[in-house]
Symmetry: C2
Subunit: 339 residues, 2 copies
């Protein structure tokens, strides 16, 4: 059986109440010998107080909830890793909730975590929140615990956010292609309506604008973040005579690779390719992919940092903290043949 | 502020003790009208009891701890996903602990979770447990909570386990290469001493034995589960005249791909390749990789299932539950040219 305070009391020859005072640093009225006897007995029996009882006294659960769309997606896994590491440093436990990208589950988990009495929540909203963000907001207000949003802000939820600068990431990688001498650069976008995808497109446009290159609508093809869409977009972009393709995520860049292999197009000699995400596989591809690494681990840590500060009662800035992504130059882009 | 039982009592015009009896289904001595008044007030105020208080009464935390080496590894992320889904169905929360593959952290987390009063633990041990497994075992015995081991058994820890049949997986994929007509099949092993790697090697040997093919030691090259080791092993295996390579994980298969691209060897026309793991990228490679899918999600669910059964006081079989992996036939293997 688990060692209880009664066992300690019995061993020390004291009452449980006396042991409790001694162990909780409230032994001013006890003799030093009594305090020592209680401490010795507790150590010998390896007594550790019941966390549930402590929680009830302190009105703290020492638990932080993390809601995210898909733990099997490397970006979210890295966020979870960073958050867990930071929580652990301050003795918080991280409760993992996988919403499967369903916004109604975001709401459900907000409610469940509130019932559980977590000290705070970290929330990576599902892609299409629709009307559910307002419901999340209601649950959060009711729970009266601090919240930090990760990767996505929300007008409905009044909480500090930590984000990746997706626009900057796209700007950096398209600039890299421009610096190599490419002027006809195709872009395979993400699904319309997804904020990160829109920001990446903005970065692409800004880079072209900086170089005084007119945007041709034919060089922008809509994708859906899946490999297959990258494959078909490649066909259309090559018809337009592009020398380089910026795919708005690495999975679509894989689609470009597949098209190239099937059609005898050598990367990067005949076609330069760049992606976004620095997915697990990007570095191990036959031609390692030039891409943008999201600061996901840092994001997870920073979000937990802000949350813990709020739990401690500190005021944290309400404007989002934006982290720069990192350009990863690898082997998939080189100067175009004509240069 | 959070709605408390006092608020409900005030609204209903009852004492908190009466409300407590009514809400906890112990209102036999109360009038039906009183019970109804308490229930109505609770519903109107959206009162939900403090989980910490309930936990103290029920001696349950409704929390399950999951310790794993690396949440950013897709195999473990899928285990976590499966476990979380199963836990959620029974109202348990999953506390995520990332050991970074350090066995001393396994011990630390066992202790911390026990202090927290979790109802049970799911444990994916770090690769090199050394003497730490015995320490984990001590912490678990002290905590007196049920434990289920995932993916790896341990002689030191007396707990049921759920595992992948790595040997069967390797057997299936090497048989596939043999059925295609390959007779000189190279094998790039995992790091020596890692149980899953040893089991995969056994599967490779068993498949050759089934086909009456003598094992040549030159066809077995040691790898370390990293891409680079797959690259260098390929050079050595091609010198031996292999027509197919079985890499004991997908990352090393990527090394084979890279070597092939750099040396103008076409996959699968000139060299068939198979891997193990069905990593996130295996399906999106330019030549989709024939590989073995670990039943990781199923493993996570099954482990949580066994754990919850134990928490309920049911007896579960002590012998490990072994799940078959699935052969994923894709485009990277075809009959050898000479056939």
């Amino acid at each position: 059986m688990r060692v209880t305070i009664k066992d300690v009391a019995k061993k020390a020859g004291l009452s449980p109440a006396t042991v409790s005072l001694a162990l909780n640093g409230k032994g001013e009225r006890l003799s030093p010998r009594t305090v020592q006897a209680a401490l010795d007995a507790a150590r010998e029996l390896d007594y550790r107080p019941d966390q549930n009882a402590l929680n009830l006294i302190t009105h703290r659960s020492n638990a932080i909830g993390l809601i995210l769309p898909d733990i099997c997606n490397a970006v979210f896994a890295r966020i979870a890793h960073g958050a867990q590491e930071r929580c652990q440093e301050d003795g918080y436990h991280l409760i993992l909730c996988n919403s499967d990208g369903q916004p109604q589950k975001d709401v459900e988990y907000c409610r469940v975590l509130a019932d559980r009495g977590v000290d705070g929540m970290l929330l990576v909203l599902s892609p299409d929140t629709g009307g559910y963000a307002a419901e999340c907001s209601r649950e959060i207000r009711k729970a009266q615990v601090p919240v930090v949003l990760i990767d996505r802000e929300s007008r409905e939820i009044a909480a500090p956010a930590v984000c990746t600068d997706h626009e900057l990431g796209a700007l950096l990688v398209v600039r890299h292609l421009l610096e190599l001498g490419h002027r006809k650069i195709g872009c395979i976008s993400g699904p319309p309506g997804v904020p990160s995808a829109q920001q990446r497109m903005r970065g692409y446009r800004r880079a072209l604008w900086e170089y005084g290159i007119e945007q041709e609508t034919g060089l922008m093809v809509e994708g859906d973040y899946r490999t297959e869409s990258g494959y078909w977009a490649t066909e259309r972009l090559l018809e337009q005579g592009v020398t380089a393709i910026f795919a708005c995520n690495d999975l679509m860049a894989c689609g470009v690779y597949r098209y190239a292999v099937e059609h005898g197009i050598q990367i990067p000699k005949n076609l330069s390719v760049a992606g976004f995400d620095d997915a697990e596989f990007s570095d191990v591809l036959a031609v390692p992919l030039t891409t943008v690494r999201q600061p996901s681990f840092t994001l997870g840590r920073a979000a937990a940092e802000r949350l813990i500060a709020q739990i401690r009662g500190e005021t944290v800035p309400q404007e989002p903290e934006v982290f720069p992504p990192e350009l990863k130059i690898r082997a998939s882009a080189c100067p175009p043949k004509s240069v």
